[in-house]
């Protein structure tokens, strides 16, 4: 490949198979003698299992439960608290208790309906509020506290002009990847093979080794083409893989587990609902003297990835700002509800929504324009992070803000909207912005201590190069992006580099496909491997090149103290949204969307644009459209239209702009892009709604119901 600029887009590796519908996703796979699995799920939120009564099972049907697990009955991830099959205690509605397998899907469902279980019901924690009340006694998955000393904060507060206390709440978000979760387990004499829709092959493999109590070479994991992930296929597939792996081993036949949409909505992980309590001290001019935040994440019934999600929430709790005397404390709490997990942004979108909201409100209280007020606090190169790390690379965000304000003619637009709102009784227009960053890669020393990524390149005698890594393409374009990096480095045509769907039998552990690390971390390793291969290139001879992660030491991360450099690099973003609110219905019509981003260097401009458009659509919808609720421990929305992710008619063209700011640690200067664009959508949409209505909101999504409630209160004089 000898493109002058690597950013120029190429045809995606997987285009033809996808556009023709002939690329087989896991649900399209059929193998001989394949059985289906269906899960019997706990009907109650918390209880002790007394008995399970099965109907007579026809020939060829079997129950697979905890008794079939050769190894330990938990899904190996961080804590050991998530049973594969809950046989003694159930801790949330929908928790898998056992599986029925057999040849006919509808017969399995009929059998499920005839199962009778007797469960002794125990008190359940069904809301985050209840979990917060009980946290001193029970149910803390993780907690951290860091920042300025409490006595210093107290002293500052005593002399402050005013103290502003605000609470802020964020809701669930559901991934709605278009392909529901699916996993196939295949038994052979030598191994258990599991293939399916997933982001993290070695998470799945390690969970299988633990559950099957087997050797490394007795399990094998292959990623199927994956119809969207967004974090939803980060931790959850391990559970399903254990189900089909155990079942396949028990019945010695292939077992397929495929969810339909309602099941996927009800039992798979979601974005953590969160609550923030901020206390901010101001001087007479409205300047911030100190800030204290407590945040709580609803982890659901087991820890899953919540402890790590909490870290990212906390690390972003001051946003992109240098706040004097900042103190933070956070908890990931247990509730008897569906476990929450990874979702694009991984705890950061909640925190950015909260801090952007707070600073917006403070600016209003001190009669300053929110954008101007926030800009006073924007971090600069060389500034410390809230954990005592350092923003060591150039920080362009203030220039990006300045550019965007000029592009949209912010002051003029504000005046126009103000005039429009004066004479239009029904519709009100508003404009709002958000400023944000994303720490690229794993938090802290994760890459060095836990992941230890390895990549491999293999060259055939015909000079075709294969990329051998465990990272998934779930739509984000990794097949194409990483192939481009390798081709470019080797000076080969793009077509001569291929990246087959990974198979753990063939590929080393290059880490999970998460944390916006694939291009930056894995891409850099591939760049190095390619350069090594090039050095030893001998035409007509097969060759391999392997590279391992090398940690670049910065200010060392200390997880206990929550101090040091949490990330090797940061990507940055500025969003600006113009919208119109219908004050009769509370409906919001987004009219213009702008996004400016510093992601180092785009490896493929079109792929990056795709990440920006898709991420912003999700982020904006998180702020005002997508509402998911749990009632008595049960997710209420069971269909796509109940939940309401945006259609093509709900989004508008997005004006996006990239700023080159190459990062030495990334391939060709690239930093992470996957999660960043989602982060700014919600706070920008909230700020724009607030601007339109001149009403402050303290939660997302800002639904029409909420808008009407507040408008009604204001009309009645009580708001």
């Amino acid at each position: 490949m000898n493109a002058k600029d690597i950013s120029i887009s190429v045809k995606k590796k997987d285009h033809d198979g996808k556009v023709s519908g002939q690329l087989a996703y896991i649900g399209d796979v059929k193998v001989d003698l394949m059985l289906y699995g269906v899960l019997y799920r706990s009907p109650i939120a918390h209880g002790k299992v007394r008995s399970i009564q099965l109907p007579p099972l026809p020939e060829g049907y079997a129950k697979i439960g905890a008794e079939h697990i050769p190894g330990a009955n938990f899904v190996k991830l961080l804590h050991k608290d998530q049973p594969i099959f809950a046989d003694e205690w159930v801790t949330y509605i929908g928790e898998p208790m056992f599986m029925l397998v057999g040849p006919e899907f509808d017969i399995l469902h009929q059998l499920l309906d005839e199962v009778e279980v007797d469960i002794e019901e125990h008190p359940a924690i069904l809301t985050l509020e209840e979990a917060i009340r009980q946290k001193d006694h029970t149910g803390v998955f993780a907690s951290h506290e860091f920042g300025e000393r409490s006595d210093v904060i107290k002293a500052i507060e005593q002399h402050a002009h005013q103290i502003i206390e605000e609470e802020y709440v964020t809701g669930y978000q559901e991934h709605v990847y278009l392909e529901p979760q699916g996993m196939l387990g295949i038994y052979t004499d030598e191994e258990i093979l599991v293939e399916g829709s997933m982001q993290c092959l070695y998470y799945v493999k390690n969970a299988l080794i633990s559950a099957l109590a087997c050797k490394d070479d007795e399990v094998r994991v292959i990623q199927s083409p994956t119809g969207g992930g967004f974090g939803g296929k980060e931790d959850f597939p391990s559970l399903m893989a254990c189900h089909v792996g155990i079942a396949a081993k028990a019945v010695q036949k292939p077992v397929m587990l495929l969810f339909d949409r309602a099941e996927d909505f009800e039992v798979t992980t979601k974005r953590h609902p969160a609550k923030f309590i901020y206390r901010t001290a101001l001087d007479e001019q409205g300047n911030i003297l100190c800030m204290n935040v407590e945040l709580y994440l609803d982890g659901g019934a087991n820890a899953g990835l919540s402890p790590v999600v909490l870290q990212r929430s906390l690390l972003n709790s001051a946003g992109v700002y240098k706040i004097p005397h900042f103190h933070a404390k956070g908890y990931a709490l247990k509730t008897n509800t569906v476990p929450n997990g990874a979702f694009r942004g991984f705890g950061a979108p909640q925190s950015f929504a909260a801090i952007e909201s707070l600073l917006g409100h403070i600016s209003g209280k001190v009669n300053r324009d929110p954008i101007e007020y926030k800009r006073n606090y924007i971090v600069k190169q060389g500034d410390p992070t809230i954990t005592g790390g350092r923003f060591k690379d150039p920080v362009l965000i203030d220039d990006m803000i300045q550019d965007l304000l000029q592009t949209v003619e912010y002051a003029k637009k504000k005046a126009e909207f103000h005039a429009f709102n004066q004479h239009n009784k029904r519709y009100k227009k508003g404009i709002g912005a958000s400023f944000f960053l994303h720490g690229c890669g794993f938090t802290g020393s994760g890459e060095r201590d836990h992941i230890k990524a390895t990549v491999k390149l293999a060259r055939t005698e015909n000079d075709q190069v294969l990329i051998k890594i465990s990272n998934s393409d779930m739509g984000q374009g990794a097949l194409t992006t990483l192939s481009k990096i390798v081709a470019n480095e080797l000076g080969l045509p793009y077509e001569d580099v291929s990246f087959p769907y990974p198979d753990t039998k063939e590929v080393p552990d290059s880490g999970p496909t998460v944390a916006s690390r694939t291009t930056m971390i894995v891409g850099k390793l591939l760049e190095r491997a390619a350069s090594k291969m090039k050095a030893g290139w001998q035409s007509g001879v097969s060759q391999e090149a392997v590279e391992h992660y090398v940690h670049e030491e910065m200010i060392p991360w200390d997880e206990e103290k929550f101090s040091g450099d949490a990330y090797p690099a940061y990507s940055w973003g500025v969003n600006l949204i113009e919208l119109e609110v219908d004050t009769l219905t509370g409906n919001v019509k987004v009219e213009k969307v702008y996004g400016s981003f510093d992601i180092g260097k785009a490896i493929d401009e079109q792929i990056v644009k795709g990440q920006i458009d898709g991420g912003m659509a999700q982020g904006i919808a998180y702020g005002f459209m997508e509402k998911m609720t749990s009632k008595s421990g049960r997710i209420e929305q069971k269909s796509i239209s109940d939940y309401g992710p945006p259609t093509a008619m709900d989004v508008v063209h997005i004006e996006s702009k990239l700023y080159d700011n190459p990062f030495a640690g990334g391939p060709y200067g690239a930093k992470g892009v996957g999660e960043l664009p989602l982060t700014g959508g919600a706070p920008a949409v909230q700020a724009a709604i607030e601007d339109a209505l001149q009403i402050d909101f303290y939660q997302i999504p800002v639904t029409p119901e909420l808008i009407i409630e507040r408008l009604t209160k204001r009309a009645g004089g009580s708001d």
Binding site: D14, Q22, T226, D613, G614, A648, M649
Partner: protein
């Protein structure tokens, strides 16, 4: 016995009349193009053409398609129109995870065959029953717009 035309060929089935068309296509005719994303007619991944009109194959009982002409992506992908749409989807960068794309292509064909030069608003309406979670739709809208421009006379 239900007879209909599937991707240009006369076919028949003895499956019960209330079986969903999507199941018949995928299980009995081994066509993997129409995908199941929701089974409620709310995502469009199973879109097919029924007598040239885009419809959700998950909502159609096969008893209702006697004599109808059904075209799925599996057959449509051999047409000139498909080739152009595929090129334009690639050029616009419209394909990410790909799960919505077969349905999106069928909706694109239905739109362009009725309205060869749609406005942006008409394109958005034309694919409004086809959910995509990856792209935020804009690159798909661009792809269809591109196809309309390049495909002058094809539709």
């Amino acid at each position: 016995m239900i007879k209909f035309i599937l991707n240009g060929k006369e076919v028949e089935t003895v499956a019960p009349a209330t079986v969903r068309l999507i199941d018949l296509l995928r299980d009995d005719f081994q066509l993997i193009g129409p995908k199941e994303g929701c089974g409620d007619g709310e995502c469009g991944t199973c879109s097919v053409l029924v007598n040239q009109l885009v419809q959700n194959s998950c909502l159609i009982p096969i008893g209702a398609i006697e004599g109808a002409e059904i075209i799925t992506i599996d057959g449509y992908c051999n047409t000139e129109q498909f080739q152009l749409l595929s090129e334009c989807y690639s050029e616009a960068g419209a394909v990410q995870c790909g799960y919505c794309i077969p349905g999106m292509i069928m909706a694109s064909e239905a739109l362009l065959s009725q309205n060869p030069h749609p406005t942006e608003e008409e394109i958005r309406e034309g694919i409004s029953g086809n959910l995509c979670r990856c792209t935020g739709y804009n690159m798909i809208v661009d792809a269809i717009d591109l196809a309309a421009k390049k495909g002058d006379g094809l539709w």
